[in-house]
Amino acid sequence: MIETIRSSTRLIAARPLVAIGAAFLTLIVTFAVFAPWIAPFGPDAIDPVNRLLPPGGGHLMGTDHFGRDTFSRVVYGSRLALLIGVGVVVFALGTGVPIGVLSALYPKLGRVLMRMVDVLMSFPSLLLALGLIVILGQGVFNAILAIGLIYLTTTARIVYGVALRLRAEPYVEAARSMGAGTWWVVTRHILPNMISPLMVQASFVFAFAQLGAAALDFLGLGAPPDVPSWGNMLAESRIYITRASWLLLWPGLMIVLTAFSLNLVGDWLRDRMDPRFREMVGK
């Protein structure tokens, strides 16, 4: 506990911006977990009399065209943001890591798998996601799969590179020459050494998943329109931007600050990482 406090104070002193980013992410998690207690209204509570109210009074961030409280919807929106972020990271790492590690261990299989990854990477990312949405249909879960597919490819590439380097390390060769099996090498040597590049990749994937999900929502191909996601809120506010510009401000700011905070944390993690792998992750 004391150690945690000490390292936190060190972080605040050395990288104040990263500390602010981490604090913002904590706020988002708090919003998501305690949404019903934090939000003063239900996310779908309609109040036609109080349509398009500017911020102030009983409505901290104003109301939308149905009289719904923007602050409450922003708070509930963080649930979806977290769900999308975690879902995309789990999918991208859950598929990309095995593909990358297997490709590095079995060069023949690796040539085939990495070629397939290259082919997927020749599709512009959003078009790949849109194509998958057409096949799977619209919905939160399908949006996670569609965005996850984009980051499956980048994750597999990075993991492949890191695993190839690790495989050539003297201690891995030593373990192999002493008769260690593939499973042992993977679980004892390759995966543990991959944790920090994966954490960096996870934070960037989480950040870009927010932007991808917002774009899908905006095009009307992401979360169903009744779900209070930040992207949907922006899509709905489009018609009212000249009359009620605050509707554009808050959900957009949440997306930007979430992605920015995650990028800051990712950059900070990368700076702390083993320099041999540093150039491989992030963009």
Binding site: D118, L127, G131, A207, A215, T242, L248, A259, F260
Partner: protein, 315 residues
């Protein structure tokens, strides 16, 4: 060099063939009968049979692929179900907007990203570098459509300097002055990509400035500004050039959203509308053309990279 060109071109063609199989398979992966999905519930059996025949869905799947790919090689991407015109015509109608948008955006990206990246690198560690690097990361975290909506709110609705939506061709009334319709969209589209090029230029400049020949140049007493331009920047730009393939792909992705925000009659908006209209031949055609373009650009980037830097070898 000959072997290098051959090898790279071969790899690009192999990728294109694999990608074309995926694009072709797309129509068969959609749940349900694509003909019914495209025509809707009210279709008569005659219409269904006619469309099925037109799309060649009566043939065995493998034969279908070769017919489709063979036609595509001859420049025939099929018929749009919604417009009932050739897909190539639908794409050609959006091409002017999308190409001009991409070109203007590239001007912003290169004109802002590279000089500002150089500035940040030259002032490494100072407040101006930290400020610019922070700005770059912030820009990379902003959804392009949000930037676009704010640009509309401020410069179109508020100040009235630029039109908020649409784009009449430069060949119609107004001529080149119609390019003003593309100013705001290109700025929105440039924001995240300029940030990327800025960061890349900075990182690459710093890498190169640690090279021995840079130290030698400084030791010889060459003017610092000349060292920066002649020795560091010229070599640092290699890494930036190699990122242009990636930038192009990012531009295409974000153009889909940007063209929707600004209601531009481009290829990106055609994709979105075709998805909503379930006009699958158009989706397939656009994606095939974009993947081709992407592979050609990457090939050119690879080859020019090799010309610029003869040290690059085949892996």
């Amino acid at each position: 060099m000959g072997r290098y060109i051959l090898h790279r071109t071969g790899a690009a063609i192999a990728t294109l063939i694999a990608a074309s199989i995926i694009i072709f398979a797309f129509i068969h992966l959609i749940p349900g009968d694509p003909v019914y999905v495209m025509l809707g519930d009210g279709a008569t059996p005659d219409q269904v049979a006619a469309l099925r025949q037109r799309l060649g869905l009566d043939e065995p799947v493998i034969a279908q692929y070769f017919i489709w790919a063979g036609n595509a090689l001859q420049g025939d991407l099929g018929q749009s179900v919604f417009f009932d015109t050739p897909v190539t015509q639908v794409i050609a109608e959006g091409a002017e907007t999308s190409i001009l948008l991409a070109l203007i955006t590239m001007v912003w990206i290169v004109g802002f990203g590279i000089p500002v990246g150089v500035l940040a690198a030259v002032r490494q560690g100072r407040w101006i570098d930290q400020g610019l690097s922070g700005l770059a990361m912030l820009l990379a975290s902003v959804p392009t459509f949000w930037v676009g909506l704010y640009l509309i709110l401020i410069f179109a609705a508020g100040l009235g300097w630029f039109p908020s939506s649409g784009y009449p061709s430069i060949f119609e009334e107004g001529g080149l002055s119609n390019l003003r319709y593309l100013v705001l969209p290109s700025l929105a589209l440039a924001a995240p990509n300029a940030a990327l090029i800025l960061r890349l230029t900075r990182a690459s400049m710093l890498d190169v400035s640690r090279e021995d020949y840079v130290r030698t140049a400084r030791a010889k007493g060459i003017r610092p500004s000349r060292v920066v331009v002649r020795h560091i920047l010229r070599n640092a730009l290699l890494a930036v050039v190699s990122a242009f393939g990636f930038t192009f792909a990012a531009l295409i992705s974000e153009a889909v959203v940007t063209e929707t925000v600004f209601a531009l009659p481009g290829v990106g908006r055609t994709v979105v509308q075709s998805i909503l209209r379930r006009d699958y031949p158009v989706i397939q055609g656009v994606i095939l053309i974009i993947v081709c373009l992407y592979l050609v650009i990457n090939l050119l980037v690879d080859l020019s990279y090799r010309l610029l830097d003869p040290r690059v070898e085949l892996e």
